[in-house]
């Protein structure tokens, strides 16, 4: 067969193979088989008396072209809808022999990640603030789908699934380490431990995993690059929504809060516990620190805790913590406690940071403001009385105390001011916006 005819046949086959969506490792195989057919048929027709050129033309015509064969090849290799759509879930053309346990563990871990990713998607969709939900939900959802596809790809002997699974596991390990090392106390991260065990198993079973990896199916370079870029971008973008400002939510500038403190000392002769021994102290006095905080909302949040939580499900808090200078000398103040005055506005503990509870534990007074009360244009006055017993001569020279007044809007930001007795101040943003 002359070179021109052979080139013609090869070009015909190359055109078919190029449009058939074949896995790279199968392309040469299929091309050789198809070319063998054309060469044999052409030779047969030449033997029947046709010129080589005519024989090649007829062989090509009988064989069929791109439109006849390419769709059949594509459907043969992309037998599932999702596979043909994504073009990445093809079972490996040569399945690696045997799957090492660490690879199976990696697939399982990636699958579990996908499961929790799906749950996370639901939680974000229903609990995040509107703009953040809109941004984060697709990212969480896509990441969960990608993890699930990667799980299937690992089981199908595909390398890209392994690499995505590895990436997910490393991220899981880092997140687990971050969780275990941040904050007070010891936190055990089960996901972090599972990730560490899996990665160690992969490292220990190096040879087996290496063999599986070498035999695993590869995506065409452009598709692999696209998957890699997508994973990187979706990871970065997935982290972003929590940091983005949400214009549907109010900021410190949307709230005006003022506080006024008045103090008075009243005689309170009676039994006091001085130096651990109960005795009658005729000079004992009681310091009453009254604080009145007024909060005005110029605007309110639109679904501050997501669409699944109504206004009754959250609240703000105003905290009052007296700073009695002599208290630092530990002697004159025997007790400091809030005395109930005014209105208790409801639950606050689940909506505001833990440090608010700490302030209450330190002798402060915390008043909750139920979310149902918070309306644009409304004003609420919160009163608090902190009472201290003052005993002995030290109390004679007590400096005027001050009260640290803090207003927390959920766990997002805090307005505060330190107000001395007889003064009034406006609470200001400390840059605590979250």
């Amino acid at each position: 067969m002359d070179e021109t005819t052979e080139t013609r046949l090869r070009d015909h086959i190359a055109a078919i193979v190029a449009r058939s969506g074949l896995p790279p490792a199968d392309r040469d195989d299929v091309a050789e088989e198809l070319l063998g057919h054309l060469v044999t048929r052409t030779a047969e027709l030449v033997a029947d008396g046709l010129s080589e050129e005519d024989a090649a033309s007829r062989a090509i015509a009988e064989f069929g072209g791109v439109d006849d064969l390419a769709p059949d090849f594509r459907s043969a290799y992309h037998s599932r809808l999702w596979a043909s759509t994504l073009g990445v879930m093809l079972p490996s053309d040569r399945m690696p022999e045997g799957r090492p346990m660490p690879v199976t563990a990696l697939a399982a871990l990636t699958g579990v990640t996908a499961f929790f990713g799906a749950i996370g998607t639901f939680v974000v969709a229903t609990n995040a603030t509107p703009i953040r939900a809109v941004l984060a939900t697709p990212m969480f959802g896509i990441a969960a789908i990608l993890d699930w596809l990667a799980t299937l790809a690992i089981l199908a002997g595909q390398r890209w699934g392994f690499l995505v699974g590895l990436f997910v596991t490393v991220v899981m390990l880092l997140a687990g380490l971050g969780q275990m090392t941040s904050g007070p106390g010891t936190t055990i991260s089960l996901s972090g431990i599972a990730a560490a065990v899996t990665l160690i198993a992969i490292a220990v079973n190096g040879e087996g995993v290496d063999r599986w990896f070498a035999e695993s199916g590869r995506l065409p370079a452009p598709t692999a690059a696209a998957v890699g870029v997508f994973v990187a971008v979706s990871t970065l973008v997935g982290l972003a929504p929590g940091q983005l400002p949400d214009p549907t939510q109010i900021g410190p500038q949307d709230i005006t809060a003022t506080a006024a403190v008045s103090c008075r000392t009243v005689p309170e002769p009676g039994l006091n516990d001085v130096d651990g021994a109960a005795e009658l102290d005729p000079n004992a006095r009681q310091l009453e620190i009254d604080t009145m905080a007024t909060v005005t909302w110029h605007r309110t949040d639109w679904y501050p805790k997501g669409f699944s939580v109504g206004p009754e499900g959250y609240g703000d808090a105003v905290a009052f913590l007296a700073d009695v200078p002599s208290n630092r000398r530990a002697a004159p103040i025997l007790e400091l406690w809030p005395q109930d005055v005014g209105v208790e506005f409801g639950s606050w503990a689940s909506s505001v940071p833990e440090e608010v509870s700490n302030m209450e534990a330190a002798g402060g007074d915390v008043r909750g403001i139920d979310g149902q009360i918070i309306r644009a244009g409304s004003e609420v006055t919160v009163r608090s009385r902190l009472v201290a017993h003052i005993v002995g001569d030290l109390g004679q020279n007590i400096e005027p105390p001050s009260v640290e007044v803090s207003y927390w809007h959920l766990d997002r930001f805090r307005l505060r001011a330190s107000v001395s007795c007889g003064q009034e101040a406006q609470l200001s943003d400390e840059g605590t916006s979250r």
């Binding site: 078919i16 058939s20 199968d26 195989d29 299929v30 050789e32 088989e33 198809l34 070319l35 063998g36 057919h37 060469v39 044999t40 048929r41 009988e62 064989f63 069929g64 072209g65 006849d68 064969l69 059949d72 090849f73 459907s75 043969a76 290799y77 037998s79 079972p91």
Partner: protein, 127 residues
């Protein structure tokens, strides 16, 4: 579209008085079954299978020869046949296919289904 529907469609598009034989467009399932039937006889390569189809069906089965190859790859990926390359001297290498155990079972099931179809068609058209 089933084979019967395709056949009836081909009837509808042709003048029966002018046609002695009617080419039938094979569907994927039909072609796969025919290939399984041929490979069941002995190990064969693609060109042989095309020749076998042409030889045994005359001009009735109408398909571009190349379409046999995607069908073979599909059957191989389904585990119904297994292929292996065999050198043939100065000629191009040949990829021979043999039936697997699953392929034998699929062929038996396919044959039974085809015969039920033919029997039902005969019952309607009369012999």
């Amino acid at each position: 579209m089933t084979t019967a529907e395709r056949y009836l469609e081909s009837l509808g598009n042709r003048d029966l008085r002018e046609e002695q034989t009617l080419p039938v467009q094979l569907g994927r399932g039909d072609l796969s079954l025919l290939l399984l039937g041929l490979i069941a006889e002995r190990e064969m390569y693609g060109y042989e299978l095309v020749a076998g189809l042409r030889e045994r069906s005359g001009t009735v089965l109408d398909l571009p020869e190349g379409t046999v190859y995607p069908a073979l790859r599909r059957l191989e990926r389904q585990g119904l046949i297994a292929g292996r390359w065999v050198d043939s001297g100065d000629k191009p290498r040949r990829r021979y296919y043999r039936l697997t155990q699953d392929g034998e079972q699929a062929l038996a099931t396919g044959r039974a289904a085809w015969r039920r179809f033919v029997a039902a068609t005969d019952a309607v058209l009369g012999r």
